[in-house]
């Protein structure tokens, strides 16, 4: 089960309201390489992970990603604090405002709702871990682009923290992949999926 802790992983305190910045940061809430997809991906894939190290890693990173989703939501809601319709229009936020006002909704920067088609859970540990490593790099580059597009110091400080986490997660997934390939047939580790091709000895 999950137990909520009433704090953010890293504090979010945005002084200046900006619809333009909200629209950009929103992408990591419900966009294709965002934190919602990350948490759903890892927390779903963990059910078919074959080794205890991997069950733990996917659970722990998936849980941390939920904390990151919360941080992105906090940035977006603070960036739109007391936002007027006029400011929304000026910041290119009017199409979003029309459906959601300043509610935080999982969509990408262009307003396209979150779609689980941007994640996978294949039941194959090699395919899943390879996807996870790619996902961390895609999230890292999205944060790089947010840092290029956003000019607010309070926002950038939090985004830099989140960007660092993608790099650490990439490293840990790489170690997890090495751990898996060490345990499989090293002449052809694609020949066997330990979460599916079980060696069952229950019947003697």
């Amino acid at each position: 089960m999950f137990l909520y802790e009433k704090r953010l992983e890293y504090p979010v305190k945005i002084a200046n309201v900006s619809a333009k910045n909200a629209k950009i940061v929103m992408d990591q809430y419900g966009g294709p390489d965002g934190e919602l997809g990350a948490s759903l991906r890892y927390l779903s894939q963990r059910f078919s992970m074959p080794f205890p190290e991997l069950k733990a890693l996917l659970t722990d990173i998936g849980t941390e990603e939920l904390g990151h989703l919360e941080m992105i939501g906090a940035i977006v809601t603070q960036l739109t604090r007391n936002l007027s319709a006029e400011e929304a229009k000026k910041g290119g936020f009017d199409a979003y405002f029309l459906d959601h006002t300043t509610g935080v909704y999982p969509a990408d920067s262009a307003g396209v709702p979150f779609n689980a088609a941007c994640i996978q859970s294949t039941g194959d540990v090699i395919a899943d871990l390879m996807e996870d490593m790619a996902a961390e790099q895609k999230a890292r580059l999205t944060y790089d682009n947010i840092l290029r597009l956003v000019d607010d110091a309070d926002v950038k400080d939090v985004i830099r923290f989140l960007r660092e986490r993608e790099i650490v997660h990439f490293q840990r997934f790489g170690e997890a992949l090495r751990l898996v390939t060490d345990k499989l047939d090293d002449r052809n580790f694609y020949a066997f999926n330990p979460s599916y091709d079980k060696h069952c000895n229950c019947n003697g």
Partner: protein, 83 residues
């Protein structure tokens, strides 16, 4: 920074150390030094957490505290006034 934020910052820092050592020991479960560091971080986190709970209310809904679970502010509340 007021005292509440100072203690919360400490909880965040100690909690982050736990997160980092936890992920590392997931993929290095036999690294005794890292496991010891995780245990140290967890103890420091628990102590910082207790300090916060005693003064400023529950961090989890299972925490016993004099202050209400529902009390504002929630973690995303910030009015931009530097408080």
């Amino acid at each position: 920074m007021n005292q509440k934020n100072e203690i919360l910052r400490k909880v965040d820092e100690k909690g982050f150390a736990v997160t980092e050592w936890k992920l590392y020991t997931d993929t290095h479960p036999n690294d005794a030094q890292a496991v010891a560091a995780l245990h140290r971080a967890a103890a420091e986190y628990k102590a910082a957490r207790e300090e916060y709970l005693n003064e400023y209310g529950p961090l989890a809904c299972t925490d016993m505290s004099n202050t209400s679970w529902i009390a504002d502010p929630w973690p995303w509340d910030y009015e931009g006034c530097g408080c």
